[in-house]
Every structure is written in structure tokens, then in C-alpha cells.
Symmetry: C2
Subunit: 360 residues, 2 copies
Amino acid sequence: MSEAHAEDGPRLRDLSEEDLLDRIFPYFVQREDVLVPPGDDAAVLRAASGSVVATTDTMVLGHDWRDEWSTPAEVGSKLVTQNVADIAAMGARPTGLLVTLAAHGDLPARWAEEFSLGVASQAERYDVSVVGGDLSGAPDGVVMVSITALGDLEGRDPVLRSGARVGDVLAVHGSLGWSGAGWWLYAQGGTDPGPPEPCPVRPAEAEPPTGWTEQSARSVLMWSHRTPVTSVSSGVVASLAGATAMMDLSDGLVRDAGRIARASGVGIDLDRASLERDFVAPPLTDALPLDVAWTQVLTGGEEHSLVATFPADSPLLRDQSDPDGRWWVVGRVVEADDARPRVTLDGEAIQGQGWDHFAG
Amino acid sequence: MSEAHAEDGPRLRDLSEEDLLDRIFPYFVQREDVLVPPGDDAAVLRAASGSVVATTDTMVLGHDWRDEWSTPAEVGSKLVTQNVADIAAMGARPTGLLVTLAAHGDLPARWAEEFSLGVASQAERYDVSVVGGDLSGAPDGVVMVSITALGDLEGRDPVLRSGARVGDVLAVHGSLGWSGAGWWLYAQGGTDPGPPEPCPVRPAEAEPPTGWTEQSARSVLMWSHRTPVTSVSSGVVASLAGATAMMDLSDGLVRDAGRIARASGVGIDLDRASLERDFVAPPLTDALPLDVAWTQVLTGGEEHSLVATFPADSPLLRDQSDPDGRWWVVGRVVEADDARPRVTLDGEAIQGQGWDHFAG
């Protein structure tokens, strides 16, 4: 142990891989889908419906998180959500996670333990098992975490990006721009106001929740940046209800809608009035200037809400029974037109990233 | 493009993720097991037998390879083999790979392309598709590559580490200590003598191949360090032939046999005469001092040969029809004895890592 940091406990270099695994493994519950748990050359997971859905996502210290903003548990939580959201966006349920940590030897073992706890608690939320992983050394200062998520379609067809049809509507499940707004608040030098109250999951009622203070609004947005969430059950329900295309929102509404539009060979026209009423609203407008709120709603990344296209008469669009929130229509699928961008707002091109024209 | 390195072509930072994927994707052939190829939120792979085998392994520049020893293609090739060997060691066939590259922006795009080519060509060898992955930035100087491999048991039970029974024999498929010997030659300051001749796959005949020169021996050993190989079909055949426990050799015969012994609650006694006759032999003994050859046979890592236990009367142990080589008996499974280490050599403790007692 380095004496200068004795108060932090042992470093990774002070522990054997086995010692570290002994500290981490107890966090990981093995569900009944796991036929061979971690500890052998490979894990074996049930894939009852005869196929497996697979995705992987990586986070690197300094690129994807900052230690002064995010705790190790929050990094683990966010990494799980990023991966699970990709499974959910296919209409599948996650069944297993493989977790990799590559880190320099001076990293406190406690960091790895708290990261694992964040992974485990978010895995619990999504009812998925951690079935394997890898620990690796890395150069000084480097911490890199990676997850591969596996999922099961349970007999459903996957919901691809390519199925949107002209006449469908585009709808969003969950928040828009909250994570990006949190990032913006941090980048402005904002300090963490602590865990948010009230509950940050947007409820299903027709109107956004009221009663935010600037403090509680900042709190929920910064929390959303550190620990975004997705909804597996809402992805499954969307698939059952006939969603024609679906994605999770990783890179912002405009870019991700553009991916659906390109894959489907269509255009997507966003509806300004719907976005303004349902999303450019508290808590965003309590914590941000209006132009920044618009920017984040349209382009804020790492939200991991779901965006999907549905036949316009889908009953799901009127359903308010999902405790994780409802699907909000924000646009419609139109013919692709070489004279217009793939994604428009009230039929107009969306200029740049600054959204100054929304400021007034 | 950095002018100082203009001759290397564009750097990662000069390309969009899409540009880079356009350069890499054509290398990756999608086999019929792939139901949804890369490009959506997640891939979908057939898992016909109702389960999926999963493992992950990571390599970090400076920790797991050196650019002065290994080409980018060799790093990709080795990473594939490491992961596929874990699938093979369960008696499964690999069906899909997810490949992650996290690298600093100054890395030549050509590095990523050559790495991908190495992944693709080794994936071709093992008949497995690259179905997904992730590209990520990383701090200056950092290059990290990671693969998750998925596999299918095709209805067979997995061959675990825990099934060895007293009376079984321990057998090795493939070489022992070649990769470790290559590492030792590099560490001694050896320069790469170029691609090896003759074919480095050990043939199935009873005697090790003869006719090595020191030069050809060094060449094949250094090549084995850069591009170890495993044999999927031999793992499948071992499973069908009733192997009771199996692993791939990642950390050396003694450590990995110890893992089988602990998981199975038994001891393993290695046979000195068999090891000496079949493994402490050319090309090792043409390129290394005898004590180093013994050390590498017993403890050399990253070999990715298979080691398994079988009932002593298994006909597979006499089979010489596998073009990838036969199974060589190197020990037997004995009762665990608290007075002895888990793994012994002719009933004696194996002292330290130096093997000086073998030098004479």
C-alpha cells in the first residue's frame, strides 16, 4: 500500500485478481437464466427463444466521466443503463452482463468495489445477472470500464431502426435533454446539490410535474447526467404494441431520429408545439435559460430514453398505465425529400447546435 | 492530420466514427447465425440450442502487448484466439464476437484497420462472425482492445473445470510453453526472425517434428507468442469423447491444472517422463537452455492450447486423426491431500518458478 494514500485502503496492485474478485462477486446475484455462473472459462446463459441479442459499450475516465462529478457507483450504474437501453431498444429483455475493468495499479480497490456495487444495484433494477467479465492492468491514470449486455427476445421479432413507415408517428418514452442539461450545469461550474427530490422518473400524467424549485430542478438534472435510466418493460410493451422502429437516445433526439430516418429511407418531422408543451418544460425551464433547454431537448445525449415510431392509431399512445411514464408523440414520419434534411422541425431545417432562434 | 506523421495517413481524430467503421466493416463476414448484423442498437445471433456461452478478454498496450514486438494484425489475431479458446474450452463453438477499441486520437487509422484485419482473418479461421463492438476515445498513449465471444453448445453439456475425477488422466492438446518461450526470447532482446517455416502447428505423429534449426525454432516460438492458436474442433471432439473437465491454457500448465484440481476437489500429478518426452523437446530445446524450456512447459502462459481430463480408457487418447494434433497424456488425477500441493510432479512439490532443479 502506498503510504501517501493509506487512508484509501489497498490499491489494485496490492491485491491479487482473486482477492479483488472475492470482494466484488458477492454483489452479483445469479438469476435462473444463468446455467453456468462466473468462475469457469465462460458463462452459459439460457437463450430460451433460440436467439441472443448482444451489444457492448465502453466508458473511459476523462472522456466519458469525470471523477469530480461522478462517484464510482454512478459510473457503474450509467454503464449498465447504456448497455441495457440498447437491449431494450430492440424490444428484448436483458439476461446477462459481462463487465470489464481495465485500470492502473494505483486505483483504490474501493473504487472497484463501489463501481461493482453500482453495476450490481442497476443490474438489480433491470433484473439482469452479471455473468462474467475481465480485470486488466492499464497505464498510469487510466480507468476504463466496459460492459457487454446479452438479451432475449422471448419470441418477439426485434424492433429495428429500419421499419419506420410514412404516416407513422414518432414518440418518446422518458425524459428528453435532462442528462445533457445536467452536463451543461456541471460544465457551467455547478456543484452537485445532492440526491434529487422528488422522484426523478417522469410520471405518467398528462402535464409535467409542477412544484420544482431551481434547486430541485438542478438536482434532478445533474442526477440524470450521472445516473440516467431506461425502461426495459416499456421497450417490450412498445414491441408488443407494434412499434415499427425503435432506438434508445444516446446522441440526442435529432441525431438518433436521423438514424431511424436514414435506416428506414424516410424523413422525420418534429413537432415544435408538442416538444414545447411536453418537454421544454420543468424541470429544464426552471434550471436553464430557454435556449439551452431547447438545445438539450433536441440534441442532449446520454439520455437513454426510448424513441420509437408507431402506426398513428396505436392505442399505446393513449395509454397512461405504465408507472415508468407514457409515450409522448413528438413528430411524424414523412416522405424523404432530397431538398430537405432527414429531420426537420415544423418542416424547416434545424440550424446548427446553438438554437439561438429559440431564445426569444 | 498531424504533419509530423503525415506519412502514416490519417489519425483516429481525423475521422468520424462512421468513416472509421466504413473502413473496417468490409472485413467482417456475417455468417448465417447472424439474424441482425451490426448497425442497429444491438446484434441478434441465433442460439439454436437454447443457451449461449459468453466470455470476455481485454488487451492493453504496454501490459499485454508491445508495438515493437507485435503488429496490429497480430494483436487482433491473439485477442480473437484468447476469447475463442475460452469458448472452445467449454466444448462450444464460437458464433459471434463483439470487438471494442478504445484509443487515443493520435493513433493512425491504419492501426485500427490492420487490427481489424487481424481480427477478421482469425475470425475466419474459427468460422465466427464479428457482430458488433464499440469505438471509444482514450487518454494520450492508451490503446485498449477487448472482445466478448459468444458460443453455442449445440445441445452438448458444457465441460466445466469441476468435473475431474480420481483415476482420470490429464491430457494436453497443442503445444506447451511455445508462447512463453517466444516471450522469453523477446525479453532476452531477440529480434523477430520473420514468419516461421515449417508450419508451426504441431502435427499428430508420435514424435515431435525434427529438423529444426535454432533459427527456425526461434522463429516458430516468437511467432507463437505473437499469434497463438487454439482448436475449436478439438474442444468439441473432447466434449463428445467424454472429457470430464477442460480449460484453455492461459496462465501455464501448473496454474491452470491447479484450477481444475481446486474446482474438482482433487489433486493432479504431472508425469515428468511424459512432459520430457513429448513437450521438453524441439523446437523449445533448440532455442532455449533446458531449464528455461522446462520452466516454459510448466508455467508459460498465453498458450491457448486445451488441457482436459478424461477417463483413462478414452479412445480419444489413442486417436491420431485430428489434423490439428492429438491429445497427449501428461498426468493423472489423484486424491487431494492436504499434505501436498494441488499439483505435483512425480508426486513431489514443484518449487518456485525457477526450475533450477531441472537444469542438470
